[in-house]
Symmetry: C2
Subunit: 127 residues, 2 copies
DNA sequence: CCGAATCCTCTGTGATACTG
DNA sequence: CAGTATCACAGAGGATTCGG
């Protein structure tokens, strides 16, 4: 779209930095990944990603909705039905997010190994 | 390497989740991106990413070193010279990280626009 | 120059209970 | 079902000072 390449996360105060840091919120990546397959209701989404309190999940979803990444749809019925789904913008983030996910899942052994090595060396140097 | 696909960030308690969440620490992405081009000394790295206190930057770097993503090299001289650089593991993360960075920088206008729209709608509904 | 040591603040996160 | 309202807290992050 715009070739205006004036945003740089390495520049302090650049809005892109704040946006990127939002993406690192504790539950944000999990919510986005959970919604990758399609819309989910509040409670189902909650079960999908583990133990989140309603308050925290709500605030995470609100932020995502405000940033235009998630769409919230209320269906009038009793009881009320609320669905959350990725917006077009949210889907455009899916690629990068899944890349992070895949990396994390693939390199678990190496990271854990590195930690063990590090801790061993540390302990050894203390003796 | 191992086709053992038993890690899943959506599963609560899976180590991959904790590792992915580490990647979202406030300064971690910035450090990794700043080191993308090559090794940097502590002070230079610090200036590169903005206003971080030495303590916080040190602890960020320690964690990255422990997880095997960053290499720390001490050169004995007066004053001491310490270089930080990405390990092979760290470099393997560069692709995904840069994807996140590019997305953040490219979609700043859309996100800001979405926020404005959201806030307008919210204010309108309060009247 | 590189950080360790201290102290302190803030806010993201969570536990609990309640409502349309 | 899908939240909101309170309260509470650990711990990440920061300011400041000092040391090798």
């Amino acid at each position: 779209m715009d070739s205006d390449q004036s945003f740089n996360v390495l520049v302090q105060g650049c809005p892109s930095r704040e946006i990127m840091q939002r993406l690192g919120d504790k539950w944000t990546p999990l919510v986005l990944l959970a919604l990758a397959e399609g819309p989910l209701r509040f409670t189902v989404l909650r079960q999908r990603i583990g133990t989140v309190t309603p308050k925290v999940l709500t605030s995470t979803l609100r932020t995502l909705e405000r940033d235009g990444l998630v769409l919230r749809t209320v269906t009038a019925q009793v009881p009320v039905r609320v669905d959350y789904e990725l917006s077009e913008l949210g889907q455009s983030l899916l690629g990068p997010m899944q890349a992070i996910r895949v990396w994390s899942e693939e390199h678990v052994p190496k990271v854990l190994q590195a930690r063990d090595d590090f801790d061993d060396r540390e302990e050894a140097s203390r003796l």
